[in-house]
């Protein structure tokens, strides 16, 4: 495909007619007479480009970009499921898109926020939710601040958080943002949390809690989850559930029943809202009754007078984002839940796990599978035993040549040369079979034509890019 579309800044000219602003229809005054000269800008280096040129430029760029609608997007831990189109239609209804966050007469918006909180409560078992966090990592921060506040109000000093080595990188980063230091826990040979190590870490004192994802990033459900949460509670700690991997648990198993006190969800993963090329997402946080007072403000309460917004809660961790969270994302997730219903959600969990196990069973014939167990939503292969020094990166880049997106690579860190595959429930068997076919072919190439992998990708708009130089001499704008 043709590459190197010129930057938009190289287009346009001086006299472009654009039609996006109404004519000024009031009596105006000379700017210089009503605004001090020192406040006025002189030049503005933004081109004037015609509408046709703009549209063609960005359509061309869209054609050299891969999305879920292009094909399988097996990015592990990202849950790249299909994004239903009805979600987009509803989000664009002017009765939602034009509501101002500070207007009254907003009952429709508040009711939706209240109802989806109830639904997420049913799905996770949690007693109260905030919908404010803008993304998963933002939700993690909120959850950890809740833990911090919980102990602060009790006058207890606890400044450490236990995080397994298989955790998402956001976990330790979020814990640090909430002022905690981190105790990293090594997973055992089953990819699970070793109870003896856990107890040892807790006995060192000052541990506020643990952050876990279950199933974990190896795609494995921790069989001792009830013991883990019990032990943490016995030592006076709280248990945080990273909901990035909730998809396979939908309608199957609930974080609160596992013993968790706090959970964040990624609506852009589990609840089908589009990933948008990296966002916007939404990261609601659910808590047990005991922790409800600490949720961020504002909270929506159901009273005799209808829904009211509570800004006055003094135990709250405070505000964590302006206004109400990413409402139009929450709206899409609400539409998704309505469309699927309780039974549909359960089927999502089931088929997500079926698809992952099917793919795993077929791929492990030719690739090393370090944790060979029934998996949940995802599984992790590695580049161990590949011939001719072929690496995970070579495999990933070669997958692009076949017109698919690559799995998550070099994560989780507990597996060297990891290839983390999450197909999601919305891939058909046919799509999975094609992916297996490509992976098998690449495995054969690794043996017989290794150069093809080392030079890959060869069929993409650009070849493998020089990341080292890019970081050494950063060029970040034109």
């Amino acid at each position: 495909m043709d590459a190197n579309e010129l930057l938009i800044f190289n287009k346009g000219n001086e006299l472009v007619h654009q039609n996006f602003i109404p004519k000024l229809d009031i009596k105006s005054e000379k700017i210089e007479e009503i605004l001090p000269k020192n406040l006025i800008r002189d030049e503005l280096r933004i081109p004037d480009v015609s509408e046709v040129e703009i549209v063609r430029h960005y359509i061309k760029l869209s054609k050299i970009n891969y999305g879920v609608d292009s094909g399988i997007y097996p990015l592990g831990s990202c849950t790249m499921k299909y994004n239903p189109k009805i979600n987009e239609i509803v989000a664009r209804m002017t009765s939602f898109s034009k509501v101002h966050p500070l207007q009254d007469e907003n009952e429709g918006a508040l009711e939706i926020l209240y109802e989806i909180s109830q639904m997420l409560g049913e799905i996770t078992g949690m007693d109260g939710f905030t919908l404010q966090p803008a993304a998963g990592a933002h939700g993690e921060l909120v959850g950890l601040l809740i833990i911090k506040k919980f102990f602060e109000t009790r006058g207890i000093v606890k400044n450490k958080i236990i995080i397994p080595d298989s955790a998402h990188g956001t976990n330790p980063a979020s814990a640090k943002m909430a002022g905690f230091s981190i105790i990293e826990l090594q997973s055992n040979k089953y990819g699970e949390v070793p109870l003896d190590h856990l107890e040892y870490a807790l006995e060192q004192g000052d541990v506020a809690g643990i952050m876990l994802t279950n199933p974990n990033t190896l795609g494995v459900f921790d069989r001792q989850i009830k013991d883990i949460t019990r032990i943490v509670h016995e030592h006076g700690g709280l248990c945080y559930y990273d909901g990035a991997n909730l998809n396979p648990m939908l309608g199957i198993c609930r974080p609160k029943d596992m013993g968790f006190d706090i959970v964040h969800l990624n609506l852009h993963k589990t609840f089908s809202t589009p990933h948008g090329g990296g966002g916007p997402g939404s990261g609601p946080v659910g808590v047990t009754n005991e922790l409800i007072p600490f949720l961020p403000i504002p909270c929506i309460l159901s009273t005799d007078k209808g829904l009211v917004c509570d800004y006055e809660n003094h135990e709250s961790i405070g505000r964590i984002k302006a206004f109400w969270g990413n409402f139009s994302i929450i709206l899409r997730a609400y539409v998704y839940i309505l469309s699927l219903g309780g039974n549909g959600l359960k089927r999502v969990g089931q088929i997500a796990v079926l698809n992952a196990n099917y793919l795993k069973t077929l791929l492990k014939k030719k690739y090393h599978l370090p944790y060979d167990r029934i998996c949940q939503h995802e599984f992790v292969l590695s580049d161990k035993y590949l011939p001719n020094d072929i690496t995970t990166e070579d495999i990933a880049k070669r997958i692009l040549d076949y017109g698919f997106y690559a799995p998550t690579i070099y994560f989780p860190l507990v597996v060297n040369g990891a290839l983390m595959v999450e197909p999601t429930e919305t891939e058909s068997k046919d799509s999975l079979d094609k992916f297996v076919e490509v992976m098998n072919q690449i495995r054969d190439e690794a043996l017989n034509e290794p150069e093809k992998l080392k030079k890959a990708p060869l069929n993409t708009p650009v070849g493998r890019l020089d990341a080292v130089n890019a970081a050494r001499k950063p060029i970040l704008h034109d």
Binding site: I8, Q18, F20, I21, L24, N38, R41, L44, P47, D48, I54, L61, S62, K63, N65, D69, S70, P84, I86, F96, H100, Q103, E107, A109, I112, A134, A137, L141, G169, T170, A173, G179, V220, F221, C253, R254, D257, M258, S272, H275, G276, P280, G318, A322, F323, W324, N326, S328, G341, G342, N343, I351, T426, K429, K455, V462, A467, A470, L476, H477
Partner: protein, 447 residues
């Protein structure tokens, strides 16, 4: 409707390959007593039923044809091509472009976004986006603390009250001491232990501060103290001197005005920019331009990832992962659509129209404009009968201005008026009439 393609026969075939008898067997690792029987959520609905239900909810929100409400979320015209471009599913159904070679389109667009934000603000570097203006300001405070190694920051009154609350929460999390003071008293609290001074211009009440005066004031006393400016409606940059020209170290803004619908306040767009010397401490994603390893073609990729959480974990400068990419794409298309000519025109119209309303309101007996500095498209007014004004606005189908008492109870008779290019002269005249009627009604009641 569950968006799943398998029929029962396919499922049976797949189970056979996996070599388990039933789907339930795939959940054998889960303790039996944890398995949920069923969710207490109604059955799935058809598309037409969902749409009907959503329309019913939508009808419970009142949408006004004209608005005088801003306060951090603004109604500006969105060119049709913005939604057209962001609706390309190659863009909106993709994720963070980890595989650069299959994501060149989006990466180039983000590079263009970083470029256009740098050009608009004249700041040396811009990241790929943050969640919103409020969290950008909070992350800027943290960044300043990391850069200077100091844990006190000053925030000047006039920052959006919700932003102040967010900064408070983040600072508490990081054990950073936050001091809130007025511009007049800045000199008294500014000392060498301060990491940064944060201010908003145009501020929540509409006042424009000359950034250069502010930076001279701060830097003369403490050259190493960082100056952070925030902004809630950056359309003003079509007219006002950009932060890059006034020695601002970190500039953040809410970018919702750039082609993003209000949608009850989210998603917005966190614009985050800084001087180049702080590059390696900036939070969030950065897209860079580079070349092929084995060729000459230019390409784009995520760069300087060693700052980020997925590499550095607890040593990262921020925990941000998912950002607001699609919103930054909206902003890019918006800014390109308007071009420099349009951006100037829109800023001038916002300014002129707000100025017109301000003058007209000032002439009505009983009203008093409270701003002491120049303003852009927002200003504050003391009203003789605030409830009357709100009522009259609604009667005329105008979304009323913000009652400032929402945030500052002591300012019980003050409104924050916002006028944009979308306020036609007829809506403006209605608003002025509403202001007049509000007093007359009060007089009638008094009589």
């Amino acid at each position: 409707m569950d968006f799943i393609s398998h029929d029962e026969k396919t499922i049976a075939e797949m189970l056979k390959v996996i070599n388990v008898p039933k789907v339930d067997d795939l959940f054998q690792d889960i303790p039996k007593d944890l398995i949920v029987k069923s969710l207490n959520i109604s059955d799935g609905m058809s598309e037409p039923d969902v749409l009907d239900k959503m329309r019913e909810y939508g009808n419970k929100n009142k949408i006004y044809p004209h608005s005088f409400l801003g306060a951090g979320c603004y109604y500006h015209y969105i060119p049709s091509l913005v939604d057209f471009v962001i609706s390309r599913s190659e863009f909106y159904t993709s994720y963070t472009p980890y595989q650069a070679e299959a994501s060149q389109g989006y990466l180039q667009a983000i590079y263009e976004y970083q470029s256009i934000i740098s050009r608009l603000t004249e700041m040396e570097i811009a990241n790929a986006s943050m969640y919103d203006g409020s969290t950008s300001l909070a992350e800027a405070a943290i960044m300043a603390s990391i850069i200077t190694g100091k844990n006190q920051v000053i925030l000047l009154e006039g920052v959006h009250p919700e932003y102040i609350e967010v900064v408070k929460t983040y600072c508490w999390g990081q054990n950073i001491e936050l001091k809130i003071t007025s511009e007049d008293k800045l000199n008294d609290v500014l000392n060498e232990d301060i990491a940064a001074v944060m201010f908003q211009s145009p501020n929540f009440f509409g006042d424009i501060t000359d950034g250069l005066v502010m930076s001279n004031k701060v830097k003369e006393k403490h050259p190493n103290c960082l100056l952070i400016q925030c902004m809630t409606d950056p359309t003003c940059l079509g007219l006002l001197k950009p932060p890059g020209k006034t020695n601002i170290d970190i500039f953040v803004a809410e970018g919702q005005s750039f082609g993003i619908d209000p949608s009850f306040g989210g998603p917005g767009l966190g614009i985050f920019t800084a001087k180049k010397k702080f590059l390696r401490k900036i939070p969030g994603r950065l897209v860079g331009k580079t070349k092929e390893i084995n060729g000459d073609r230019d390409g784009f990729l995520l760069t300087l990832q060693a700052r980020e959480q997925h590499i550095r974990r607890e040593k990262a400068s921020s925990n941000i992962c998912t950002n607001q990419a699609l919103c930054s794409l909206s902003a890019l298309i918006y800014l390109v659509s308007l071009g420099k000519t349009g951006l100037r025109e829109i800023a001038i119209q916002n300014f002129q129209k707000a100025h017109y309303v301000k003058k007209a309101i000032a002439l009505i007996p009983g009203y008093k404009i409270l701003n002491k500095k120049p303003t852009y498209n927002e200003f504050i007014v003391k009203c003789p009968d605030i409830n009357g004004l709100i009522r009259e606005c609604k009667k005329m189908n105008l979304l009323p201005p913000l009652q400032v008492s929402t945030y500052y109870p002591e300012m019980s008779d003050v409104v924050l008026v916002c006028v944009t290019e979308l306020n036609s002269s007829s809506s403006i005249e209605k608003f002025i009439k509403a202001a007049k009627l509000a007093i007359n009604n009060e007089e009638e009641r008094a009589n």
